[in-house]
Amino acid sequence: MTELSQIDLRSLAAGHKRTWDAFVSAASPLINAVVRRSLSTYRLSEDDVMDAAQDVFVRLCANDFRLLKTYDPARAGLSTWLAVVARSAAVDFARRRRQATAPIDEVPEAALAVEDRHVEKLKIPDGLLTERQTLILKCLYDEERDVAEVAQLLKIDAQTVRSTHHKALLRLREHFKGEPP
């Protein structure tokens, strides 16, 4: 079976049937995994999962493959970009489906949280921590992820996560020494 990295993107964007078929075969496992994971907090049927995956493929080929043509191979791998696109499409699908069918009382709280698009500003002076330090503290404390997961997310060593975390806490303690936040 053809791998995603072997797909001829020009031929794909030109709409060649055989390239599209090869692309679908190569991309299906990834899109299937992302869609299932994204919809796991919603109570949706297997048919809904199939429809959401089909939505991803429709997005990719709609309007003369307009979305596919926005992909830039110099910036990221096709798998990573497809995963991002698939997740966005799946979340949109779930929102549309929920609005169309489910009474609000029946929606699990976790699913509601996905739509909660407000973001929180921290009570930390600007410039005290770098964005990377803040993100690592957020992942470790707010998301309760372990060091290995954060390292995997940021494509850095676990030791780098530990040292960044340690330096960030030292700065916080130093800054707020004798002054409760």
């Binding site: 496992p29 973001v119 975390h165």
Partner: protein, 177 residues
């Protein structure tokens, strides 16, 4: 995977900084987000996405889920998922490519399986017709050669009846007398 956790007093310190003051989420394009997930962005650009992911719980959740999926072997997708998706694009969607007049005289094998089969069938018919004609010509020549050889051999060894009866009758009557 490690299950290492951070000490609770550090967590309590961190939690004390959250104010709950809402701010607008920053828009991040799919391409930027993918590049960030791969660690391909320059430091300044990465810091912008870091800030957006830090501030937006939904974006953070997406980042953690995608990093997890992309780091693992994937199970096969149901067959009908691919079948349905493949049906979205047909041969009619293929865009015609402008060719030169000489190239336009030649068959285009990128036009799909149906065209290829047609071209192969036509070629097979032509080959069979030429073969038949050649075969017929050879067999005619062969028949003529066989006939010619039989003619020449019969003239020396076996003479057909009635071909030369005058001498035989003369011999018969001379013996009788």
């Amino acid at each position: 995977m490690s299950t290492e956790r951070i000490p609770l007093d550090d967590k309590a310190l961190w939690r004390s900084f959250a104010t709950g003051q809402p701010v607008a989420p920053v828009a991040v394009s799919d391409m930027d987000f993918a590049a960030w997930l791969e660690g391909n962005l320059p430091e300044a650009e990465a810091a912008r996405i870091d800030a957006a992911v830090t501030a937006d719980p939904a974006l953070r959740q997406a980042a953690l889920e995608l990093a997890d999926i992309l780091g693992k072997p994937l199970p096969a997708a149901p067959a009908r998922m691919a079948v349905r998706a493949q049906a979205l694009v047909g041969f009619a969607a293929e865009r015609p490519v402008r060719k030169g007049w000489l190239a336009s005289l030649l068959p285009d094998f990128s036009q799909g399986l149906g065209f290829q089969r047609g071209a192969l069938a036509a070629t097979a018919v032509i080959v069979a017709a030429v073969g038949f004609m050649l075969g017929g010509g050879i067999s005619k020549q062969y028949q003529e050669a066989i006939y010619a050889s039989s003619q020449s051999s019969s003239s020396t060894a076996i003479r057909p009846l009635g071909s030369d009866t005058t001498g035989e009758l003369t011999d018969l009557f001379s013996d009788a007398t």
